[in-house]
Subunit: 297 residues, 2 copies
C-alpha cells in the first residue's frame, strides 16, 4: 500500500502552495510535513513536488494527488457505516471542479448551493479556459468539468446540459453613436466590440448569422463575464452576453439588443469521473437540475 | 533597423494564436505571414514563435513584441501631425493591461469607459493573479497593471490608488444556520467560508482583526469576484467582499455584514511603463480619477 499520511502531506503542500501553510492546514509542524514528503520521495525514487513559490506537483505528484482524491471520495462514502462524525479540517473532502466563466455567472451558483445543502463536501472551483478542460480531467487536476466542447475523456462520462443562449447587446448611447443609421456591415466595422479572449468567436458567429459578414470593428479584450457586461453598460463596446444575464437590463432599457432574431446557442456539457461515489452523484444531480432550469435543451 | 512589417506579423500570430487568424487580422495570406515570420527568424538566427495550439512567443519573441508595442505607442502620437485619419484594423493601437479581479468588478469599468471616450485605442485586459503582475510587466506582456502589491518594476512608475475596502458578509439564512448564537470563534470553525484562491488570506485577516483567531471553517474555492458574491447570496459560505459591491445588498437585507466594525483595507497600485505617450497618460488619468471616486485614500 501507498503511505497515505505522506501522500496527504504532498497533496496539502500542492493545494496550499507551501510547506508552512500545508503544516497549518494539517495541524502538524512544517518539519513533519517535510519529512513525510521527502520520505515518500525517497521510497518512490522520484521527486513529487517542485519546491518554489508556489510549490507545484511534478507529473507523478499530480497523478498521486489525483489518486488520493479518488480514494478520499470513496472513503467518504464509508463514513456513515463507520459511525464517524464530521471529519477534521485536514480530512474534509474537497471536489476539484472546472467551470466555464459564463456558467459560473449564470446557473452554476444554484447548483453549488443545492450541492452544499445535501453534501458536507468542499468545492474547489477552477475557472476553465475551455480548450484545456479535457487535459485537466486527464491529468487528474479536476474530477468534473462544465465545458463548451464535447470531447470524450477516458475514465469520464459526459452529459449534455443544454445550451447557453447569447444576445448581442450595447448601451443606448453606444447604439446612438455607432448604429444611428441601422446595424449595417459598414457600421459594424466602425463600432468597437468586446471579446472575452482569443478563443471567443461569438461576435463573428453572430455577425455572420445576422448580417452575413465576419468582419467586426476594433476589439477590446475583457476576460471576465461580469467585466464584459459592465464594460458594455458603460459603453466601451458591444458584446455577446448570456441572455440570462441581460434580459432584465434589456427590459429596463439599460441595454439594447442589436438583432433579437439572431441569438447564438453554445451547447454545454458536464464531464465527470466515472466513480461510484455519493458526492459525485449528488453534484451531478445538482448540476443537471440547475442547468435544466436555465439552459434550453 | 528591424523589419517592422515582419515584426507586426510575429505580433499578430502571438496575439491571435495561429498563422491563419493572424493572416485574417492583417488582411494578407497565411503564406505571406509565414514568409515574414520565417524570414525574420532566419535573419535573427533565432526562433521567435513556438508553433503550437496556440502559437506562443519565445522569450526573444516576447521581447520583440513588447518593443513593437512601445514603438506603436510612440508612433500613435505622430498620427495627428502626419494628418492620417483612423488607422486600419491591423494597425490599431492596443494597450495590454493587467487588472486584478476585484478592481475589474468595481471601479475599473468607469476608467475604461472614460479612456474609450478620449482615446481611439483598444484595451487588452488580462486578469492579474497579483503575484505575477511584476513579472508580466518585466517580460513586456503588459504595459500597465493594477496590483495589490507594491513592487518596484524597472522602467515603470507606481502610483498609489488608495485602498479597496472589504466587508465580511453572509446570507440571512446562512447567519441563522451558523451564527444564531453570535459570531464566536467556535461558530467560525463550523461555518463554511469562501476563498478566491490560494493567495487570498482576507478571511483569516478579518478573523484575526474581529475575533483574534486565525482558524476559519471548511473552505469552498471560487476564483471569480461575482461568482464569489453569487455563492454568498445563495448561502454556500460567508466571504470577504468589496464594500462597493455589497452595500446595496446589505441595505436591502440580502446580505448581513458579520462585524461592521471590522472592515479590511487592501491598498492598490497602478504600475505603468515610463514612456511619454499620450495613450498611456490618458489611461493613467482615467484610472486615477475612477479609482479616486471608489477607493478610500
Amino acid at each position: 500500500m501507498l503511505d497515505y499520511p505522506a501522500l496527504a502531506a504532498v497533496a496539502a503542500v500542492v493545494r496550499e502552495g507551501s510547506f508552512e501553510r500545508a503544516a497549518a492546514a494539517l495541524a502538524i509542524t512544517p518539519s513533519a510535513v517535510s519529512q513525510r514528503v521527502r520520505g515518500l520521495e525517497e521510497r518512490l525514487g522520484a521527486i513529487l513536488i517542485v519546491r518554489g513559490q508556489p510549490c507545484e506537483a511534478t507529473e507523478l505528484g499530480r497523478s498521486l494527488c489525483a489518486h488520493l482524491d479518488q480514494v478520499r471520495l470513496l472513503e467518504h462514502d464509508l463514513a456513515p457505516a463507520l459511525g464517524s462524525t464530521a471529519a477534521g479540517a485536514g480530512d474534509r473532502l474537497t471536489l476539484p471542479v472546472a467551470v466555464n466563466a459564463d456558467s459560473l455567472a449564470t446557473w452554476f451558483p444554484a447548483a453549488a448551493a443545492a450541492f452544499g445543502r445535501v453534501a458536507d463536501v468542499s468545492l474547489d472551483l477552477t475557472l476553465d479556459d475551455e480548450a484545456h478542460t479535457a487535459n485537466r480531467l486527464r491529468a487528474g487536476e479536476v474530477m468534473a468539468a462544465v465545458t463548451a466542447e464535447r470531447e470524450p475523456v477516458q475514465g469520464c462520462r459526459t452529459l449534455s446540459l443544454g445550451a447557453l443562449r447569447y444576445a448581442a447587446c450595447a448601451s443606448p448611447e453606444f447604439v446612438a453613436r455607432y448604429f444611428a443609421r441601422g446595424i449595417t456591415p459598414q457600421a459594424l466595422e466602425q463600432a468597437p466590440c468586446l471579446r472575452f479572449d482569443r478563443r471567443d468567436f461569438l461576435q463573428a458567429r453572430w455577425a455572420r448569422a445576422a448580417l452575413g459578414v465576419e468582419r467586426v470593428g476594433p476589439v477590446h479584450w475583457v476576460p471576465s463575464t461580469h467585466g464584459f457586461l459592465d464594460m458594455t453598460l458603460v459603453g466601451l463596446g458591444w458584446g455577446m452576453h448570456p441572455c440570462a444575464m441581460v434580459e432584465d437590463r434589456i427590459a429596463a432599457g439599460h441595454l439594447i439588443e442589436l438583432a433579437p432574431a439572431h441569438r447564438v446557442d453554445v451547447p454545454l456539457y458536464w464531464t465527470v469521473t466515472r466513480l461510484h461515489a455519493a458526492a459525485l452523484n449528488q453534484l451531478t444531480q445538482a448540476v443537471s437540475t440547475a442547468a435544466g432550469e436555465v439552459l434550453g435543451r
